[in-house]
Symmetry: none
Amino acid sequence: MALFLSTFINRIDKKGRVSVPASFRASVSAQAFNGVVLFRSHAHACLEGVDYATMEELSGRLDAYDFLSSDQDDLATSIFGEAVQLTFDGDGRIVLPADLIAHAGLGDQVAFVGMGRKFQIWNPDHYKARRDEARQHVFEKGLTVPRRPDGDKGGRD
Amino acid sequence: MALFLSTFINRIDKKGRVSVPASFRASVSAQAFNGVVLFRSHAHACLEGVDYATMEELSGRLDAYDFLSSDQDDLATSIFGEAVQLTFDGDGRIVLPADLIAHAGLGDQVAFVGMGRKFQIWNPDHYKARRDEARQHVFEKGLTVPRRPDGDKGGRD
DNA sequence: AAAATATCCATGTTATACCATATGTATAGG
DNA sequence: CCTATACATATGGTATAACATGGATATTTT
């Protein structure tokens, strides 16, 4: 299992600890780093989560830019400077830093929303509105999943 | 773990000593040289930091220029000529040379900003402005991380 | 000898690894 | 078909270790 699927609501305690859904943990269990990487979403009041391998892949793709170029600098600052890597404790929990909790407006409950290669962390109340909005956009604009890109070998896992 | 991630604020004492964040130290621990390489940023009032292996790779990239070309000469001078190797002491600290402290306008606190394969060292106050600027550039220019480069096998898992 | 550099030690704070308990779900038995 | 039990997950609390930081001592350099 490599994909983040479905939505889970978990509690967050006073110290910012929260259990990562077991199925999400299974999705990153093949990694060397036992945990996830989080950063603030630029588009929404939520957090984005990926596995460590995804960060490595992003780093590799950034090499397409010249070293020391200003575009590479802007991207690297925005992506890597703000990211935090959070290790699972023995029971599969992570501790959310206070500034990330603030950015997402999290209370005592958080929603883990699977989005395939990544996942998002929401205040459950805010997420409902976001979900309806997303559905509405897909319907109004008639959005579809694009066909496979040329170079993609299309591994079905 | 080879990536520099996240931002850390550490104190600098009167002698210019500062702790390198533990996770950054872990990122260079595979190297033979127990320390980091720093040089002045050309674009900003900050310092750039890499591990020794990256310097070797940069050297390889510069081979793209013709040997004895003036461009290669300029780059090699400003990168390799200015670079300093700083060894960790027993507690993971380095001593920042006075001219580098001056260039970055460092006070009693420094921000280590992870940027993937490299990191930057900032005056924390200046960095906040820089972070916002970078985000703005990414948004205005619509910068994205490019698709996989040609040679990239792009293995996930 | 003086200054600069490196090594060592000691301490407070913070994070995290560990343990113990609850809750919910699936399974098996009556 | 309902109930009891066992398993897996989630949650709450505590102790230990790692880290950052300040200071002191030794070593080298000029």
